[in-house]
Symmetry: C2
Subunit: 330 residues, 2 copies
C-alpha cells in the first residue's frame, strides 16, 4: 500500500501538503493540488485509517453488541444500523454476546482497544460498564432510565395483543412469557397481563425460552397443560410459529378454535399458513434510529439524553379472527 510519503515524493512536495489536499484544509495552490491529486490516483493511494485513528484518538469504527445474530429479530436491527453507518462512512464491528455478561465485557474491552467511536448495545442492561467507558453508548431494544436508548412501545404492544384477542372472542388465553431478564419482553408481558386481569376471561402463564428448540418444546407443553386454550399471546413470533405448527399438527382449526398472536413480525411470519397475526416492531427502523442517535451524540457530545420509543402496530393476518367476531362463541 502506498503511503503519504510515497505520494509526496511522487508529487515532489512535502507530506504536509499532501495531507492538506486530502483533508481540504489549509492553503494549497491550485497547481500543486493538481500535482498531488495526480500522484494520489497514480499510486492508488488511500489514507491509512489506523494512523489517522491513532492520531485522532478515535476511529471510524462503531461497535454493535447483539445477543445472537441467528435470532431473526436481530439481523433486521443490524441491517438498519449498518445501513446508516455505511452511508456516513463508518464501519461496524459486531459481537454476539449470547446474553453472557462476561463475553459482553470482553467485547467492550476490545472495542475500546480499537478506539471505537461509540457502541450500540442490544444486550444486557448491566450499564455499570458503560458508565466508566467514556464513549457514547446507545441502548437498543433495551431500556434504562438514565441512558439514551431506542426501543419500541412494548407496553402498547402488550396491551394491543391482549385487547385484540379479547375483542375477537378468545375466552381462555395462555400467555407465553420469555426469560425474565429480558426487560422488553417482560414489559410487554406485563402490559398484556394487566389487560387480561381487568377482563373476565380465564388466563394462564407459561414460561418459554426464545430459542427455536425451546419454542417447539413450549408449544408441546401448552397443549398438554392447557388444552382448552382458545387464544395464545406469544412472547415473539418464533414461539408463536411453534404454537401454530403444533396446533395444526393436532388438527386444531386456526383461528376458529384458537387465535394466536405473536410479537416482532419477523420475515417468516407472513410465510406461514395461516399467516401469523402479530404485533410489529419496526426492527429495521429501530436499528436506523439507534445509529442516527449514536452519530448525533458522537458529533455533539453534550446532546441531551434522548430516548426514542417507536410505535408498534398490529399486523392483521390469518391467525386472528375478524374484528367484531368477539361475539363468535358467546
Amino acid at each position: 500500500m502506498a503511503t503519504i510519503k510515497d505520494v509526496a515524493k511522487e508529487a515532489g512536495v512535502s507530506v504536509a501538503t499532501v495531507s492538506r489536499v486530502i483533508n481540504r484544509n489549509g492553503y494549497v495552490q491550485e497547481e500543486t493540488r493538481k500535482l498531488v491529486e495526480a500522484a494520489i490516483s497514480k499510486l492508488n493511494y488511500l489514507p491509512n485509517e489506523v494512523a489517522r485513528s491513532l492520531y485522532f484518538q478515535k476511529s471510524k469504527l462503531i461497535g454493535l453488541i447483539i445477543p445472537d445474530i441467528t435470532n431473526p429479530f436481530f439481523p433486521e436491527i443490524a441491517r438498519g444500523v449498518e445501513d446508516v453507518l455505511q452511508q456516513n462512512g463508518y464501519r461496524l464491528i459486531i459481537g454476539n454476546s449470547d446474553e453472557d455478561a462476561e463475553k459482553e465485557v470482553r467485547y467492550i474491552e476490545t472495542f475500546t482497544q480499537h478506539n471505537v467511536l461509540g457502541v450500540i448495545s442490544t444486550s444486557s442492561e448491566e450499564v455499570s460498564q458503560w458508565e466508566k467507558l467514556n464513549i457514547p453508548v446507545v441502548l437498543l431494544d433495551r431500556i434504562h432510565h438514565d441512558f439514551p436508548f431506542v426501543c419500541s412501545d412494548q407496553k402498547e404492544g402488550g396491551r394491543l395483543a391482549a385487547q385484540i384477542l379479547l375483542d375477537r372472542g378468545s375466552r381462555n388465553i395462555t400467555l407465553l412469557r420469555g426469560p425474565k431478564h429480558v426487560r422488553t419482553a417482560y414489559e410487554r408481558f406485563f402490559a398484556a397481563l394487566e389487560v387480561l386481569g381487568k377482563s373476565q376471561v380465564q388466563f394462564q402463564v407459561l414460561n418459554t425460552s426464545f430459542s427455536f428448540d425451546g419454542a417447539l418444546e413450549t408449544a408441546g407443553k401448552l397443549f398438554e397443560l392447557y388444552p382448552d386454550t382458545d387464544g395464545v399471546i406469544a412472547v415473539n413470533d418464533i414461539v408463536a410459529s411453534a404454537v401454530l405448527r403444533e396446533a395444526l399438527r393436532r388438527g386444531r382449526k386456526i383461528p376458529e378454535e384458537m387465535q394466536i398472536i405473536g410479537f416482532d413480525d419477523i420475515p417468516m411470519s407472513k410465510f406461514l399458513f395461516p399467516a401469523l397475526s402479530t404485533i410489529q416492531q419496526p426492527a429495521y427502523e429501530m436499528g436506523k434510529e439507534a445509529a442516527k442517535l449514536l452519530l448525533e451524540r458522537i458529533r455533539q457530545a453534550d446532546i441531551k439524553k434522548k430516548q426514542i420509543i417507536l410505535p408498534v402496530s398490529f399486523v392483521e393476518r390469518e391467525t386472528t379472527r375478524k374484528a367484531g367476531d368477539g361475539t363468535w362463541q358467546k
Copy 2:
C-alpha cells in the same frame, strides 16, 4: 484510557520494560515484572490495538462481506465465522454488499484502510479486486478455481433434490431457479436439471428472486403457469416456504398432491406445517471452516490453496412423501 507511559511511570520503569512484560518477550527481572503487573492492574491498562496495528502493519480485524444479513442463510454463516474469530482474539468487521459490486469495492477499500488481516467474502466472484490486494482472502459459499473457498456440495444437493422427488413419485416437476449470477444456486439447479433430463418425467423451469417478496410472487405464478405440477424443487427454503404457503392456501394437499423440497435448511423450515423437507447446507459449519481456513492462511501465508467442500444432506420432513411411495400414483 491509561497508556503504556502511564503504566511505566506508575511502575517506575521505562515503556520498553512495560512492553516486554505485556508481550512476554525479552528479559525482565521477576521483581520488576511484578511491579509492572501491579501498575497494569491498578490502572486497568489495556494496550491500544490501534497503535499496535500501526506498528505491525496489521490489525486483529477480519472483514466479512455478505450479500444481506437479513437473508436467513447468512446469519448462520456469520455466526460460525464470528465464533471462531472470537475464540482466537480477532474481531469482525461486517458489510452488506447487496450483491452490488461497487458497494463491495468500497468495503474492501475501507477494510484495507483499517489494516484488516484478511477477508471472507460470500459475495461476488469478481475476484480481480482480491488479486491486487495482498491480504489473504477466503471465498465462502462461492466458488473460484484459483482461490481458496469453502462451500457445500451444490451438485450433490441438486442431484439429491431431484432424485428424491423422482423416487417418491413426482411426475411433473417445476424447478424454481434463482438469479443466474449466483453461481452456487446455478450449480445446484443444473445438477437437478441433469437428473430430471435423464428421467422420463415432465418438468419446467421458473425463475425467481431470493427475496421474501419475490418468493411470494413466484409462488403465485407457479400455480397459474403450471397448475399440474406435483413436485417443486425450490432454489432455497424461502422460496419453498412461499410455495408451500400458496399451495396450502389453494387447498392442495401436501405432500400427497404435491411434494416440495427446499435448499439450505434455515431455522424456520422446521416450524412450518407441514415442516419443510430440504437439502441442508451446514451453514454454521461453513462459516467456521472459512474462518479457520483464513486463520491458517494468515499464520502461514504459503499454505497451499485449499478448497473445502462440505457435504449436504437430505432432511426428511413433511413436504415429501415416504421413500418407496414412488409407486404412489403410477
